[in-house]
Amino acid sequence: MNPIISWIKFNPCLAIFWKDVMYEIRSRDTLVSVLVFSLLVIVVFNFGISPNPKNVGMFAPGILWIAFIFGGVLGFTRTFAIEKENNALDGLLLTPVSRDAIYLGKVLSTFTFMLVVEIITFPIFAVIYNLPILSPGFIPVALLSTLGISAAGTLFSAMAMKTKAREVMLPLLFLPVIVPVLVASIEASTPALIGGPWSDVSMWLPIIAVFDVVFLIVCSIGFSYIIQD
């Protein structure tokens, strides 16, 4: 077998990612609910704030990221739900795969699901708030912020899975930790969405990237401890 094909076939991260994608395509449990919830947040805020051309730049980025994060919380409650059914997580833990690889595989799948939701939500958001649909400056902000949110969310999802009241525990644990990324994402998204200078966007990107790296390292170490009995 070609070594590249063999690597792809037997890479545990990709196997977990592919398993989650196939599971989601068949069940559509998580994506649909997260998507509907994110859209509802955007619509409800639109009614509550009644944005006008003067204040839309001030409110819209915040509303967008709150919608993504609240939707993400809903999705994270399901991240390990499929592993919990039938005790499949134990089956996964019995395999000769490092816990980091399991964590990274789950991060990859949550990152992909969040990106899909964002790709569908963003044009609708842009139309509702009368913002440009094509905002190239927003793409790196969305990619980096979503990675950080997924990295932290996957860890807290695993943590919450071990508790009885996981729907309550997850937002309580996750939201305070994600605040720095949320603030940086909103600050970077504002100039990106209202057509501000690229320098105003790019100054926030290294900060978000640093948080991503810290979350990925710390959370992968924490995951190994959390997942063990």
Binding site: K9, F10, P12, A15, K19, M22, Y23, R26, S27, I82, E85, N86, N87, A88, D90, G91, L92, L93, L94, T95, P96, V97, S98, Q228, D229
Partner: protein, 265 residues
Amino acid sequence: MFILAPYTTVLVLMSDKLKTHLVQIEQHNTTALEVADLTKSFGRSRVLNGLNLSIDSGEVLSVLGSNGSGKTTLINIISMLTKPDRGTVHVLRKSVDKNPNQARNSIGVVGHTPMLYSGMSALDNLTFFGRMFHVDNLGDRISETTYKLGVTDILDRKIGDMSHGMQKRFAIARALLHEPELLLMDEPESGLDQSAVALLRELINDLKDSNCAVLLVTHSFDQAVKLGDRVAILSKGKIAYEEVTKSVEIAEIREKYFKYSGKFK
């Protein structure tokens, strides 16, 4: 010189056979599992209390014990799902703490639950777990394992749509997929019909022949004696009684069980 040639040939052939035989004996006598001073408490309750046991390759050890005697905890610790408070576990003479992934590669586990994804088909489950174990010729291996368990024709069905017995058969297939050298079975007969129990017996005998060690936790005296080479009774967190099955009757095992488990007959 020519007169000696046939004798030399016979001697060479005999020494080759002897070597092969010695290698087989050596393989058979390898300690597959060695557990020493294993201690585990949950809160104030001490479940395992300095437990020691060992199993050789190609040997089946049946473990009996009342509910809450620590049988499942023992299996969880050996399979590294639970950390012990104290004690060591060696699989194929290697510490599981130092070589966890190497040990996981040598162990197959059949637990109370199937440990399979209920929303995925049996084939997708076995393919996924086979990839995680780096199983070569995965398709052939899946066909071979599921054929032995009589479940080849329902491979495309979802695990969640199957009966408990069928789920159990696929759980056994998952545990055998990577050809483990040590198989841990926690009450494998529960939920299985008589034909499946017969298949299980056949399977365990095949595993013995292929030099796989089996730790069989069961509530059935009959299974314990028929399948095991040795039988042990777990009580108060330790092996309270151990005997070779050839030299013991079921009635004696039953008597010892009730004596050590402290329950009425």
